[in-house]
């Protein structure tokens, strides 16, 4: 109960500024769109209406139609579902793997720690686009591959922060007190350590959502990610780009949606970070 109150208090602080409030509003709108896409969408996103290609915005089609006469608004709304599910599942995977590896690195012997840190360095040093190409070459493009690629490249990010957090707390008196009481290592880590290191990691995760959304859009734009006819924002921009000479509306509208979502998430993430720990922001 108290945790809930603490979360609400943090949210209140984060939305106290104009940018925080704007970011939070966009965040909520995108989440709602992603969750209730079938309800919100005015049309079936995949329904073709070839007679009605490149229709301008109208009462029937709020944002017009694309080169196959599909309703652009509905496709954008469904795109939010894909963007959010890719972003959240990739980040959840990276957060889990990074936290486990980070805690291990902090508690392992010197040698074990070095192995994990070198692993982080190798992943981080590898150009993610080349990595993506290699993985797609082996497994072929799909939504699952996008999630895997993004999770892999984000893991070191979370791992390093988790390790640093554990190192500052490892010898904290309250953990020492647990040891003196005879608590097992697992109890110390899961009951006492984890809740105290999650705050910064969750903030980091929220700040990574827009990054992942753009990566997914980028990969899909290049044809390495989500496959057509699924309506990812990246494939929407790609479609619009191909038929730019016929109509400028699809590419501009889908690019704007992507930009607005990324901006909103970034603003909200930054406000959240400042609300949780103002020092992190100032040190940058």
């Amino acid at each position: 109960m108290n945790t809930l109150a603490a979360i609400l208090a943090t949210l209140r602080r984060a939305t106290g500024s104009i940018t925080g409030a704007v970011g939070f509003t966009i965040f909520v709108l995108v989440i709602l769109a992603a969750l209730f896409a079938p309800v919100i969408a005015t049309h079936d996103p995949d329904a073709l209406d070839v007679m009605n290609r490149f229709a301008p915005p109208s009462a029937a089609h709020w944002l017009g139609t694309d080169h196959l006469g599909r309703d652009l608004f509905s496709r954008l709304i469904h795109g939010a579902t894909i963007a959010m599910s890719v972003a959240l599942s990739a980040i959840a995977l990276a957060l889990a793997a990074g936290t486990v590896l980070g805690i291990l690195a902090a508690y392992l012997s010197d040698r074990g720690e070095r192995v994990i840190l070198i692993l982080f360095d190798v992943i981080a040093a590898f150009p993610s686009l080349v990595l993506a190409l290699a993985i797609v070459a082996v497994f072929g493009p799909s939504t699952g591959v996008v999630v895997a690629i993004v999770a892999l490249t984000m893991t070191p990010h979370f791992g390093r922060v988790a390790r640093a957090q554990v190192l500052t707390l490892k010898n904290a008196p309250f953990l020492e007190a647990e040891r003196i009481l005879g608590a097992s290592g697992a109890r110390i880590v899961f009951v006492h350590l984890l809740p105290n290191i999650m705050g910064p990691l969750v903030v980091l995760a929220s700040m990574d959502i827009p990054v992942v959304i753009t990566i997914e859009a980028g990969l899909s734009f290049l044809g390495l990610g989500v496959r057509p006819p699924l309506a990812s924002w990246g494939t929407l921009i790609q479609d619009g780009y191909q038929f730019l000479s016929d109509s400028w509306i699809p590419v501009v509208v889908s690019s704007l949606a992507l930009a607005l979502a990324t901006l909103g998430f970034t603003l909200f993430g930054e406000a959240l970070r400042d609300a949780v720990d103002p020092r992190i922001g100032r040190e940058r």
């Binding site: 008196p173 020492e176 007190a177 003196i180 005879g182």
Partner: protein, 340 residues
């Protein structure tokens, strides 16, 4: 209070702890703690007090030597029944507020011993209620978080947590550090009442010599990883035998000017534990050091009933002999330094 013939509850037998092959944190420590006794431990920071406490609660392994608790080697007890060992030896950490999990309520923290040791819930809860009342903690403290309670309360919560497992021995590291003098007495009274009622034994570390003088039965003085003097507390303060102990107890100014004695001010800096002095470790600062002290390492020896000292030239135990001899020597040293 304690029977000298009974076997001690705790004995350190030639215990050494060396970190990284060169930091001699504990060096050939011999020490006993009788059942029901309060043993005080004093010394400067870096003298090994904290390491000694940590070896006794099994958090720092020994490099050589043995610690026995109730006759059995600590290392074997720990291996055979780790939780059973924890139920015998508990510790009060110095930073009481930081020793409470910041995201758990006091109630959750106090239930930790129940969960860890699988104590029968009903009996344990009754015990917890009884302890809260006994320690003068309000009932609603269990719903609070560590940052919402006072320093004195945090200390008593730490005591309650330790007592949940009904230990025999409590290691108290600076239990009054950071407490205002107006509440320090309350806590010390409580610790001593608990000793009487529950038959507890304490190892009490403090830099506050008034506290040591008041509540301990015997005191061990540490310097650079060694115990340089062990004596009944009264005797130590009245007639210290080791020059360092004499200097230490003299640095405690009384409020009343009529009772104030001149402190013996030592020269020089405390040497580093990495680069220890030859011979007697104290000879670089000792006002009465002789040439031999720089060469020969003094052994610990018995100088009186229950008194052991590690010095080639301990002071005679006649009253004030130590202070007078040291003051004369210190003055001579100051005079020598003043003339260019």
């Amino acid at each position: 209070m304690t029977d000298p013939a009974a076997p001690p509850l705790v004995s350190f037998e030639d215990v050494s702890v060396v970190f990284g092959g060169r930091v001699h944190a504990l060096d050939h420590v011999d020490l006993t703690i009788a059942r029901g006794e309060v043993l005080g431990l004093v010394g400067e920071s870096g003298s090994g007090k904290t390491t000694l406490c940590r070896t006794l609660i099994g958090l720092t392994p020994l490099t050589t030597g043995w610690i026995r608790i109730g006759g059995a080697p600590l290392i074997e007890t720990m291996a055979a029944d780790p939780l059973g060992f924890r139920r015998r030896v508990q510790m009060l950490l110095q930073d009481a507020v930081a020793s409470l999990s910041p995201r758990l309520t006091i109630g959750r923290t106090l239930e930790e011993p129940i969960a860890i040791h699988g104590l029968p819930r009903e009996a344990a809860r009754r015990r917890l209620d009884g302890l809260l009342a006994r320690l003068g903690l309000p009932r609603d403290i269990v719903t609070k978080f560590p940052h919402q309670i006072s320093g004195g309360q945090a200390r008593r919560v730490g005591v309650a947590r330790a007592l949940m497992v009904e230990p025999d021995l409590i290691v108290a590291d600076e239990p009054t550090a950071g407490l205002d003098v107006s509440v320090q007495g309350e806590l010390l009274n409580l610790l001593m009442d608990l000793r009487r009622d529950l038959g507890l034994t304490y190892l009490l570390v403090s830099h506050n010599l008034n506290v040591i003088r008041r509540v301990t039965d015997r005191t061990a003085v540490m310097y650079l990883g060694q115990i340089v003097e062990t004596a009944p507390t009264r005797d130590l303060f009245d007639r210290p035998a080791h020059p360092y102990a004499a200097a230490l107890v003299s640095t405690n100014p009384a409020i009343d000017p009529k009772r104030r004695r001149r402190p013996i001010v030592l020269g020089g800096e405390i040497p580093s534990v990495v680069d220890l002095p030859s011979g007697c470790r104290f000879h670089t600062r000792c006002p009465v050091a002789q040439p031999r002290c720089a060469v020969d390492v003094p052994a610990e020896r018995e100088v009186g009933p229950g008194r052991r000292v590690r010095c080639h030239f301990p002071f005679s135990l006649a009253p004030t002999a130590a202070a007078d001899a040291l003051l004369v020597a210190a003055d001579a040293a100051t005079a020598a330094a003043a003339t260019p």
